[in-house]
Amino acid sequence: MKIIITTVSPTIESEVDPRFGRGVYLLVVDPDTMEWQTHPNPGASASGGAGIQAAQFVTEHKADAVISGDFGPHAFEALHAAGVPMYLFDNSRTAQDVIARFKAGQLEQVGAATREDCHPEGKA
């Protein structure tokens, strides 16, 4: 199994980043073996369409789930179309905590975009 979590630094000890499209790093982790790697989020520095780029990354890595603090309308539409379940990490602060709570089935799955609008940077 493979899940992706948005983080602020490139290690599994990192704190989580509450933004999906513009989160700094994407932590790809297997919650069973705890094998992990991190990648810079391709959306983080995009002038627009950040959520779409991040969603494309998630799809290309064939993740089984994605966990972040927030999913904008474009990101939600893209991940929903790709059939990747989205979870909110709620008040978890670290990636380790998020993984533990995900394994325990304690995270809330997202059924709709958590914001109506894109971040201002996402506008032309």
Binding site: A46, G48, G49, A50, I52, Q53, A55, Q56, T59, H74, E77, A78, L79, A81, A82, G83, K123, A124
Partner: protein, 325 residues
């Protein structure tokens, strides 16, 4: 000649200055025989156009505008992802066996259509707003764009407004630009012969004037400054203009009568008809700045304003041609 009126900061008086400039040009043309074409006024602030409140046009022509956005034929698509790769705006995404188009991010460049090896992409018009034009009572040829509520991209509407309301060869164009320094401003002022920056003498006005000047320099435009609400704030704008060699072409005082008149939709030159002279002088100086032949023009200052402007326009055209050779 095309004069673009812009500002970094919003609410500094772009429309106040632009509308009075146009009214002065329209009034002056009757002094020349045969009378030249009336000026063309372009309200490029398509997100919140307001120049019509002062020039009071009756719109006679109307046209919808938008972009051609991609439509993917799922039967032909092999999900190779080349369209998503080529799109600089991430307006098309390939997610496994699904292709998604995000119309609000699409700039209508057509790259995806050209790149698709399966010819699975066709283009569909996506309406973003409307263009309207008229002849106002004042003899000003007025055109504006109005973007639909919720549309995030003003630039394509402005670009098409400029194309749709193309001026005649000798027609003077006044462009009322949107505030700020982003893409819609660049699109509005691009192709202008002169950039007139309206500011107020406050630290905020100065901060955004500096940004606007950078845009003008990047586009290589001759520039001048109008200080509006003169008398408030500090000397920062004056110092900056002096250091940077930017001529201050006009000062409009901070005056309650002006504020009241503007609030009632009166153009500045109607509130204070004596300002006409200042606007005419400013137009003369702009014409000189555009032609870059100050000495030649100084002796001609008695000739009617409009004729001088057109002389300069023709001179500039000739110079432009020579440069290209």
């Amino acid at each position: 000649m095309r004069i673009a009126v812009a500002s970094g900061k919003g609410g500094t008086g772009k429309t106040t200055v632009a509308t009075s400039l146009a009214l002065c040009l329209a009034a002056d043309r009757t002094q020349t025989q045969p009378a030249p074409d009336p000026p063309l006024f372009l309200d490029c602030d398509v997100e919140a156009p307001n120049a019509h409140l002062f020039l009071k046009p009756t719109f006679e022509r109307r046209q919808e505008v938008g972009l051609l956005i991609p439509r993917v034929d799922e039967a032909r698509c092999t999900h190779c992802g080349k369209c998503a790769e080529v799109c600089q705006y991430h307006a098309i995404a390939v997610l496994g066996k699904k292709v998604l188009v995000f119309p609000q991010l699409c700039h209508g460049c057509g790259s995806c259509t050209l790149t698709c090896p399966e010819h699975a992409i066709s283009e569909m018009p996506d309406v973003m707003g409307v263009l309207e034009s008229s002849t106002a009572d004042s003899g000003i040829h007025f055109a504006r764009g109005v973007m639909n509520v919720g549309e995030p991209m003003a630039t394509p509407v402005i670009r098409q407004l400029k194309k749709w309301a193309a001026p005649k060869p000798d027609q003077v164009v006044i462009v009322d630009a949107p505030p700020g320094t982003s893409c819609p401003v660049v699109e509005s002022v691009r192709g202008a012969d002169f950039l007139l920056l309206v500011t107020e003498p406050t630290p905020f006005g100065l901060h955004d004037l500096k940004l606007a000047v950078q845009v003008g320099r990047e586009l290589n435009l001759p520039m001048g400054v109008v200080v509006n609400r003169d008398g408030i704030g500090d000397g920062g704008v004056d110092n900056f203009c002096e250091t940077e060699g930017l001529p201050i072409l006009m000062r409009i005082p901070f005056d309650r009568a002006i504020a009241e008149g503007i609030a009632q939709g009166q153009p500045l030159v109607d509130i204070h008809p004596e300002y006409r002279v200042q606007f005419q002088e400013m137009l003369m100086r702009i014409a000189k700045g555009v032609s870059g032949s100050a000495e030649q023009i100084t002796s001609d200052e008695s000739i009617p304003l409009f004729e001088a402007t057109i002389l300069d326009f023709k001179r500039k055209l000739t110079q432009g041609r020579n440069r290209k050779d």
